[in-house]
C-alpha cells in the first residue's frame, strides 16, 4: 500500500501529537481515503466527518485523487482575523 505524509496543524497536530503523520492508503487513493486512514490512528477521533483537506495548498473535495509527492494537509476549522 502506498504511504503518504500528511501535514497537521493546531488542534489536529495536538490531537495526533505531531505536525506530520504517515498513513497507508489504497492504490488510486482519494482525499476521502486519507481521512479514513487518519481516523484509524491514535488521536483520529478529533476529525469531523469531512474535514477540510488541502492538496498542494488548495482545498480539495473528497473524491479528488492523491498521490505521493503532493503536499497534503488536513485543516482544522480556520480562525484567522
Amino acid at each position: 500500500m502506498p504511504q503518504l505524509q500528511i501535514l497537521l496543524f493546531a488542534s489536529y497536530a495536538d490531537a495526533f501529537g505531531s505536525g506530520t503523520v504517515t498513513v497507508s492508503v489504497p492504490d488510486l487513493a482519494t482525499v476521502a481515503d486519507v481521512v479514513v486512514a487518519l481516523r484509524s490512528l491514535p488521536g483520529g477521533g478529533v476529525l469531523p466527518d469531512s474535514p477540510l483537506v488541502a492538496v498542494d495548498r488548495r482545498y480539495r473535495p473528497g473524491a479528488v485523487a492523491v498521490h505521493a509527492g503532493q503536499e497534503i494537509a488536513v485543516i482544522p476549522p480556520v480562525a484567522g482575523g
Binding site: 493546531a10 495548498r57 476549522p77
Partner: protein
C-alpha cells in the same frame, strides 16, 4: 495594486494606508482586527496565531485577486500577523482605496469575510488562569480545551 503578506512583526496600519492611496483615491477604508481582553466570558491575556504558512499566503493572495476582479479599480494591502500577540495588538489589517466609497467598503468586507472563512490560520487563546484553548468558530461545543503545560 494589491499586496498581501503574513508577517511575524507588528503591523503598521498607517503604512498600509499610504501604500494603497493614489491621486485618484476618493475613499479609503481600513479594517483592523485586534486581540481583545475577553472572549466568551473568559479573560484573555494573549493569542497565539499559527498558520499553514505557505498555503495561508497563497490563499490570502487568491482572495485579494478575487477582490480586485469583483471590485474593479480597488487598490489593496493586507497583512496578517502570526506568533504570540498581547492585548490590543493588531492581528490583521486590510487597507483598501478606490475612487468611490462603495467598492472600497465592499472590498474591505469581502476580504475579511473570505479571510475568516478560508485562510488556514488558527488562534490559541491564553487565559489568566494559565490554560489555553484553540478557537473553533464552527462550533463552540466541539472546541478543544487544552490543559496548561
Amino acid at each position: 495594486m494589491r499586496r498581501t503578506a503574513l508577517v511575524a512583526t507588528p503591523i503598521d496600519p498607517v503604512s498600509l494606508l499610504r501604500e494603497v492611496t493614489t491621486d485618484g483615491t476618493g475613499a479609503t477604508t481600513l479594517f483592523l482586527g485586534t486581540v481583545r481582553n475577553v472572549n466568551e466570558g473568559r479573560e484573555v491575556t494573549g493569542i497565539e496565531y499559527s498558520a499553514y504558512t505557505a498555503m495561508a499566503a497563497d490563499e490570502l493572495d487568491r482572495i485579494a485577486c478575487e477582490a480586485v476582479e469583483r471590485f474593479d479599480g480597488v487598490h489593496l494591502a493586507v497583512e496578517h500577523r502570526v506568533g504570540t500577540l498581547g492585548l490590543q495588538e493588531i492581528s490583521v489589517a486590510i487597507a483598501v482605496a478606490h475612487a468611490r466609497r462603495s467598492p472600497a467598503l465592499d472590498a474591505s468586507r469581502f476580504v475579511i469575510e473570505e479571510l475568516k472563512r478560508r485562510v488556514p490560520i488558527w488562534k490559541c487563546e491564553q487565559y489568566v488562569d494559565g490554560t489555553r484553548h484553540w478557537i473553533d468558530p464552527t462550533s463552540a461545543a466541539t472546541s478543544h480545551p487544552i490543559d496548561a503545560p
